[in-house]
Point group: C2
Chain length 199, copies 2
DNA sequence: ACCTGAACACCGTTCAAGT
DNA sequence: ACCTGAACACCGTTCAAGT
């Protein structure tokens, strides 16, 4: 006699995200997720291969949400303002969903790593904006510089690594302004090299 | 009858670092560390309060090593070249000790967090070099921008987040050059603001 | 003073048995 | 077809007992 399903993969992913944000990745246990959807842990294995597979589904969900939010931020009409808006939206997302955000850039074990194409889509908007500012040849390097800075900044912020005081908001604004200038106006005609002392 | 000690806190930290680098943070178990120093897991609690305390001791050891390496890199005589040398040494350390490096910037639970002063010493050399380039008023923001970028870059690199091809070494060099220019030559006399479209 | 086995409350995961 | 309890091999941690 077939038993009707008491839950669904969607409900499991939603419950998993809630538990992740409330308890951290270590607190995301099969037992807690199972309990949240009204079943026992062994039954979860009917829907996911193992815990890593559940983490993968959650990361992919987060990844789609993050890409959608960044996409919605780059609508100012100017690439300079778009880059600033992207940086602000990037940081705001990390503050609102610190555990989900951390997962986006985490070194995940094989089996928990999200689909490669889906991950690429996450930085598509930033790449497009960087291309507008830096030109097609430098687009990829410019985008990597900006994303690296933004990720480094918010991950240090979330880790409590800025311990020397000062205005963190101002430091973030400083960074995005300098980076915008920096990738917008390359030294004309010359190879990139360290500046001479005279400047 | 007192029993002579069969191990020491130093031996435990050294063994812990080896296991961390070989097996990752999840693989750093009390049982493995105990076994590596020739005792049983419960005996570890004579030397450390709990696992988080052991992690703290390891992070602090890594932190001292990292600071020492950065300090040894900033010896070129010019702040521009020092910044580049610091960035290269920063990245090289992360490549050589990926698990130890990850711990330096990780969101650690209370009890595993290293001594605050010790952590500050880690970025002291970078702060000093940034001060030479950006001036005393902008030193902190400039240092934060550079460290954020460097950390973001190598952590993305280690996470396998650069999936769009291109030359990663070149992107790193691009970033350090642009950032050096960017923090060295602020717009004279004016407040920092987003650049106008013309430039 | 240091070390240990046994125990406890957790994990993830498998599997035979239930409906 | 789905769900479960029982079981297994792990965790971190405590503690009485051994030397």
């Amino acid at each position: 006699v077939p038993t009707p399903a008491r839950t669904s993969i969607d409900a499991i992913v939603i419950a998993g995200r809630d538990i992740l944000e409330a308890e951290g990745l270590d607190g995301l246990t099969m037992q807690r997720v199972a309990s949240a959807v009204g079943i026992r842990a062994p039954s979860l294995y009917k829907r996911v291969r193992d815990r890593r597979d559940l983490v993968r589904l959650i990361v992919e969900d987060v990844s789609r949400e993050f890409a959608r939010i960044l996409d919605g931020a780059a609508v100012t009409g100017s690439p300079q303002r778009d880059l600033r808006a992207l940086a602000m939206a990037f940081r705001a997302y990390a503050h609102e969903h610190p555990e989900a955000y951390a997962l986006l850039f985490a070194r995940l074990p094989e089996g928990a790593r999200p689909d490669a194409e889906l991950t690429a889509r996450g930085t598509e908007t930033i790449l497009r904006t960087a291309r507008s500012l830096a030109g097609p040849e430098r687009a990829l390097e410019a985008a990597r510089t900006v994303v690296a800075w933004a990720h480094g900044f918010v991950s240090m912020e979330l880790a409590g690594a800025f311990r020397l005081g000062g205005d963190i908001d101002r430091a973030f604004a400083f960074g995005v302004d300098r980076l915008t200038i920096s990738i917008t106006a390359p030294p004309t005609g010359s190879e990139v090299r360290p500046p001479s002392h005279g400047g």
